[in-house]
Structures are given as structure tokens and as C-alpha cells.
């Protein structure tokens, strides 16, 4: 599998995330439901990979297995060569804004993972990330006083504040309106430009995946298998009306079997 990216790729010695032969079957009262089948996937350090698939295909399950919240039925997930035993603060999962703790303020949420630091260090870090995601003035606000986009930014800031190597994003902008969603994508890329995390981004939005990803992993319907991996060989910022963008997008549309017409 070659890693074609628009950025100077880090030395491709060892993949950051390596998924091999991953399968997942849930027992239900009347039958076994197979959700994932034979998934192989490598993500290079610093790479932004989008996992694209129809709703309910199992891509969230895939992300939960990779993050260590669920044990797979078959196959392995290795990170830096080590098998995943459970969730780990070096790899933070961002839930679609629902992971913000409603009983903590913005400050409290962003500082949540920093409990090993001293009070002063924690304060400085929290202030830094409040600025980074543009929430100055809302430090003392509770989540229910914030809009969906602001809550989403709180969660991203909380994740970045512990300086993880890997971010898992599960349809993070799914609940936002389309304008906020576009802004948030821009912000994610701006932050990614600076912080260079390895990012696994689950989405069902074809445009979103082509706008953000270095590579798009197209999944099939349940049981989800990797159908195709598409290199997005465009530098950022991407021109959404360029020929290459439209070509790549339409290619994925065709792959999924949708006529690009309304």
C-alpha cells in the first residue's frame, strides 16, 4: 500500500496504526450479526485518513475497536507495533460533541485530561487551547449554554490539550449546520497543519472526506469491508471547484454506486 500525500510524508518505516484481518461479530438474541469483515488498514504517522461509508455500516464500530473500547472478534490492531489493550491517553477519541461533560465548564472540560499536571501548568495549557479553538470569554460557561459547534470545539480542545499522537474523530461535525461544518473543517486543517497528529476521521459525507483526507478508505455496506482506498493527491488549501477535486469526488460517488445528480 503506497502512501501518497500532498505533504512531506514522515519516513514510512512503520505505520502508526496497523489493522490486520479485523472482524467483529455481535451476538444478538436470535442470531450473530457480522459488522466488520477482514479489514486491513495502515495509517502513517501524521496522516489524515477518512473512513467513508453509509450510515450504520459499522465504521463507528471499527473506530471503537481501533481505540480500544471494544475487543475485536478476530484480527489485531497494533499501534507503533504494540497491540491495543484498551483506551489510552496517547490516543484520544472525539465523540460528536456528546462527550463533553455537562457538569463541567469549558475550562473544566478542556482541563479534564490534565489531572497529572500542577495547577499552574494546567491553567496555562487550558488557556492556550481555549485560544486555539476561539472560545475566549466562554471559559466559565457550561456546555448547555453553548452552540453545537462550540461544544464540538471544546471536545477537540480537550483532546488536543493532552497532546496525543493519534486523534479518532467519529463524525465529529455530523450534528452541525453546513456553514459551521465548513468552518470546523477549516479549523481542523489549520490545527493539523501545526500539530501534525495522526488522524482517523469517520464520516458518511463524501465531500467532507475529499476536502480533508490524505487518503479516503471507502467501506462497503454491512458487513463492512474495505472497498477501495483513494489517494487524495491535492495540496491544501483545496479548491473545491477544481477539476481534480470534482474528479476525485465523482470517482467515489461512482464507487459507492450513486449517480451524482439530484
Amino acid at each position: 500500500m503506497t502512501v501518497a500525500t500532498a505533504r512531506p510524508a514522515p519516513a514510512p518505516t512503520q505505520p502508526k496504526v496497523a489493522v490486520r484481518g479485523l472482524g467483529m461479530t455481535y451476538p444478538t438474541p436470535d442470531k450473530q450479526v457480522e459488522v466488520l469483515r477482514g479489514i486491513d488498514l495502515d495509517v502513517a504517522p501524521g496522516e489524515l485518513v477518512c473512513v467513508l461509508g453509509p450510515s450504520g455500516c459499522g465504521k463507528t464500530t471499527l473506530l471503537n475497536v481501533i481505540a480500544g473500547f471494544l475487543a475485536p472478534s478476530e484480527g489485531t490492531v497494533r499501534i507503533d507495533g504494540e497491540p491495543v489493550a484498551g483506551p489510552d491517553p496517547r490516543r484520544i477519541f472525539v465523540f460528536q460533541e456528546r462527550g463533553v461533560f455537562p457538569w463541567l465548564t469549558v475550562e473544566g472540560n478542556i482541563g479534564f485530561g490534565l489531572w497529572r499536571l500542577s495547577e499552574t501548568e494546567r491553567r496555562a495549557r487550558v488557556a492556550h487551547y481555549v485560544r486555539l479553538v476561539g472560545l475566549e470569554g466562554f471559559e466559565r460557561a457550561y456546555p448547555q449554554e453553548l452552540s453545537g459547534g462550540m461544544k464540538q470545539r471544546v471536545e477537540v480542545a480537550r483532546a488536543l490539550a493532552v497532546d496525543p499522537d493519534v486523534l479518532y474523530l467519529d463524525e465529529p461535525f455530523g450534528a452541525l449546520d453546513s456553514i459551521t461544518r465548513l468552518q470546523m473543517r477549516g479549523e481542523l486543517l489549520r490545527i493539523q497543519e501545526r500539530e501534525r497528529k495522526t488522524v482517523l476521521f469517520v464520516t458518511h459525507d463524501i465531500d467532507e472526506s475529499v476536502q480533508l483526507a490524505d487518503r479516503v478508505v471507502v467501506m462497503s455496506a454491512r458487513p463492512a469491508q474495505v472497498r477501495k482506498i483513494v489517494d487524495i493527491d491535492m495540496p491544501h488549501p483545496r479548491d473545491l471547484s477544481s477539476r481534480r477535486y470534482i474528479e476525485l469526488r465523482d470517482g467515489i460517488f461512482a464507487e459507492i454506486g450513486l449517480a451524482h445528480r439530484v
Binding site: 481505540a67 473500547f69 484498551g86 483506551p87 489510552d88 491517553p89 490516543r91 484520544i92 477519541f93 465523540f95 456528546r98 462527550g99 461533560f101 455537562p102 457538569w103 463541567l104 479534564f112 485530561g113 489531572w115 457550561y142 456546555p143 448547555q144 493532552v162
Partner: protein, 242 residues
């Protein structure tokens, strides 16, 4: 307030028109309250009832909240104790009256035991359910940041169950207040419940009976209002805004 005024007027008129000698009118009840106050009984009985409720309720909370958290987090513990809870919980606390008298005699401790029983199971079930209702997304997020068990408890489980716990405390306090009145009518010789049954048995003083009812209503309302205050604290209020 108009509604209350109409009610009092209707009450007075009904007593007047029916010519009853047993049921007192509003004025007679006010006089009875004055009489209780001047004899020092009003305060003494209220304090006696509140003393029992406070102890029974607090003991129940101190035992039920940690036990509920432990059972809510442990599948094994809950599976083991669930049938016992299911059998003991629906036994009306007042059905324990004979046992309470047998164990503790007629007095404060029997009443405290009844209130403890009434509050304990109700709180235990509330806390277990609240722990189960902790959003798995929140638990996973906390585990993701590497929290140990103690911190998970303090920083996630406790704050997450707080709103449901406060509602449970309020409902339970209402039940405890109901139980203390019944317990005092049957098993104790003081308190507002005793006042009511004694005023009737010793001389058909129905003005004192209704005065006792007014006291019970007033204290019940006060307790409810106090706990409702808690629901407006920011660490609790988030649970009601969604």
C-alpha cells in the same frame, strides 16, 4: 392566592351551613394552633417529628448512596442482591411497624427505623439506576484520558448521577414525611402524627386534628422547597436543561 381564599371561604361556609359540631371551621383551627403554640406543644411535636425524619433519612442516605454506587458499578453484586431488593423494597415501610416495635420498643428509635427502611430502598434503587444511566460516552471519554477507578468515581460517576440523586432525595423525603406521620399515629407517643390521633381519641378535639394537618402540610411544603433549591445549583441544574 385567590384560589386559597376561595377554598377557605368555602370551607367556612360548608361548616356553617351543615351545622356540624365535629368538623372545625378555619377560625377554630387558627385558635387551636394558637393553643398548641402557647402550650409549647407546637414546637415540641414538630421538633420530635423532624428529629426522627432527619436521622432516619440521613442514615439511609449515608448507607444507600455508597451501596447504590457499588451495586450500580458491579454486575455481579447487583445480580446477587437484586432478588432480595425486589422482595424487600415493595414491603410498605409501615408493615414493618410490629417488627420495629419488637426490636426498638415504642419510641424514637422505632420511628427512625421505619423512616430508614422507607428511605433506604427508594434511594438505593434511584442511585443504582442513575449509575446505569451514566452515558457510556462519558465513561469512555474518561477512560480514554487514563483515569483510575478513584478518579472515575469522583470526577465522572458522582457528578453524573447528581441530578437524578437530588430528585430521588426529594421524592424520598416526601415519603419519609408521610411515613413519620403514620408511624407516630401507631407506634410513638409524640410528634405531629401522635397529636392528630391523640386529639381525636382523647376528646374529639377535631380543631386540634386539623391544626395538626396544617402543621404537617406546612412542614412538608417547606422540606420540598428546600430540596428544590438544590436542583438549581449549577452542578445539578445541567441534568434538567436537556
Amino acid at each position: 392566592m385567590t384560589g386559597v381564599a376561595l377554598f377557605v371561604a368555602a370551607w367556612a361556609a360548608a361548616v356553617q351551613l351543615s351545622g356540624t359540631r365535629l368538623v372545625p371551621g378555619p377560625l377554630a383551627v387558627v385558635r387551636a394552633l394558637g393553643e398548641l403554640l402557647s402550650h409549647g406543644l407546637l414546637l415540641r411535636y414538630l421538633v420530635a417529628s423532624l428529629f426522627r425524619v432527619t436521622w432516619g433519612f440521613l442514615l439511609a442516605a449515608v448507607v444507600a448512596i455508597p451501596a447504590g454506587i457499588a451495586l450500580g458499578l458491579s454486575r455481579r453484586g447487583e445480580a446477587a442482591l437484586n432478588p432480595l431488593m425486589q422482595v424487600l423494597r415493595p414491603i410498605s415501610p409501615l408493615a414493618w411497624i410490629p417488627i420495629a416495635i419488637l426490636w426498638f420498643g415504642v419510641g424514637d428509635r422505632a420511628a427512625i427505623w421505619l423512616i430508614f427502611i422507607a428511605s433506604f430502598f427508594s434511594l438505593l434503587v434511584t442511585v443504582i439506576r442513575a449509575v446505569h444511566d451514566v452515558d457510556p460516552v462519558h465513561r469512555n471519554a474518561a477512560l480514554n484520558f487514563g483515569l483510575d477507578r478513584r478518579r472515575l468515581l469522583r470526577d465522572v460517576v458522582l457528578p453524573a448521577i447528581l441530578p437524578q440523586l437530588v430528585i430521588g432525595l426529594r421524592l424520598t423525603l416526601g415519603v419519609a414525611w408521610l411515613v413519620v406521620v403514620a408511624a407516630e399515629m401507631i407506634a410513638v407517643n409524640s410528634g405531629v402524627g401522635f397529636l392528630i390521633i391523640d386529639a381525636r381519641n382523647a376528646g374529639n378535639r377535631y380543631d386540634l386534628v386539623v391544626a395538626g394537618m396544617v402543621m404537617i402540610g406546612a412542614v412538608g411544603l417547606l422540606l420540598d422547597t428546600l430540596v428544590r433549591r438544590l436542583e438549581r445549583l449549577p452542578s445539578v441544574a445541567w441534568g434538567f436543561s436537556a
